[in-house]
Symmetry: C2
Subunit: 281 residues, 2 copies
Amino acid sequence: MLDCIIIGTGPAGLSAALNLKTYQKDFVWFGAKTLSDKVAKAEKITNYPGFPEISGKDLLKRFEEHIEAAGLEITEKTVTNVMHAGDYYMVLADNQIYQTKTLILATGVMTAKLLEGEQELLGRGVSYCATCDGRLYEGKKIAVLCNAPKFEHEVEFLADLASEVLYFPTFESNIEKENVTICKDMPKAVCGEEYVEQIRLTSGKTVDVDGIFCLRNAIAPATLVPGLEIADGYIVTDRQMATNLPGCYAAGDCTGRPYQYTKAAGEGNVAAHSVVSYLAE
Amino acid sequence: MLDCIIIGTGPAGLSAALNLKTYQKDFVWFGAKTLSDKVAKAEKITNYPGFPEISGKDLLKRFEEHIEAAGLEITEKTVTNVMHAGDYYMVLADNQIYQTKTLILATGVMTAKLLEGEQELLGRGVSYCATCDGRLYEGKKIAVLCNAPKFEHEVEFLADLASEVLYFPTFESNIEKENVTICKDMPKAVCGEEYVEQIRLTSGKTVDVDGIFCLRNAIAPATLVPGLEIADGYIVTDRQMATNLPGCYAAGDCTGRPYQYTKAAGEGNVAAHSVVSYLAE
């Protein structure tokens, strides 16, 4: 049983991880080793105290140096589900189950909108994880929505299983496989009674599929952690960064505006201190 | 009428100032140019994201560079009183009155305990500001409590006015004046019916005085801003760093634990964004 699991490698997750490490807690830190795409894209940051003017790329380099110096390790798995099981949590990451006493959600803000019907058909033909659910679609026809190149290995994995893949990347993709068709006409809705039957595209056209994988940078928090209190799309926390679920804390953009690195780092720090207090009780 | 006044030059105040500057607000930033004594004394900081390991002194140097690069100006005056006047605030700093639409309190945490009777006799023989109240004690006998060398110019100013000064520094002082007696037996209580008559020392001895000046790094927030909601000694804020007074925000150690630079900087950032929103309304 872990002391804590941190989900997310942006400034909030990093700040939380640094503090849990100081307190020698036994934790796993999930997220991309590329850290934050948002920071990477920032041309010039002038309001992170201590760096008069720094590019996002250079700030990430500083973060990487800090991660190395602190001896932190990032586990590059996608967390697709969290279950609250009494006084602990079960976390599903790339089909492996982890048990933890506490959680820090630092998942960032999901800029992508959900598809119509996506939430309703989740687990019934809609999946967020290729390694978890891929085998259910052997020999079948699937759609795959993907918003970051780092998920393309999952697309290739799915293509090896499925008979046919309609692929909807939001970027320029270089995947070349016989059974993969790259489509520009993006999905708008997932349709089906009990189970996914079709997807409807932006053009209005519908296509029959057996399932759809949505591979995105972030999963909507309410989808990730059932029972979590959400308001206006953000995780509700108090000043100690506690959510409505005992032992579950949140930090960074996922808790609301302003979307600022300094705010995120500060909240990650507070969340880690709250975890330490919670574990001591 | 100013857009904002920031009180305090620690990480919270700095972070707030950087953001108000970005938004081109008209503000005054009060505090010591030496910034934070607490940061200065930190031997090694390892959890401020972006600096794998940095001494407090070096972090302050980075802060000073940032202040210079951003073109920020610190007004080195002691704020002794804030009055809420309908939809604006009057701020008294070294006997000068400033008017402002909003306030950010980043005053740090007061580690010194108040003397017994201090709060009750404030304004009736107890003063926090030599330049404000010094002239009231011309030719009289006063006690001066001082917890930072940076206030010693105020002690000298008082010695030029008073007939006799019982001086209680919490550090090694080099003041040499005929009418100044440096005492090791520290004050414990301020006594008097209507007005200060005596101070009682730790040894139990009492001494007659006409008044006492308490020159400390921080003034208790409730004393500084009458009407401000306080709980357990901390300013109560919501997640947007708003206090119970409209247009008055707080950030950093004065809002509660954990006492962390990252938390303080994050809260200063949020407070500044809240001020910008408030002014836009």
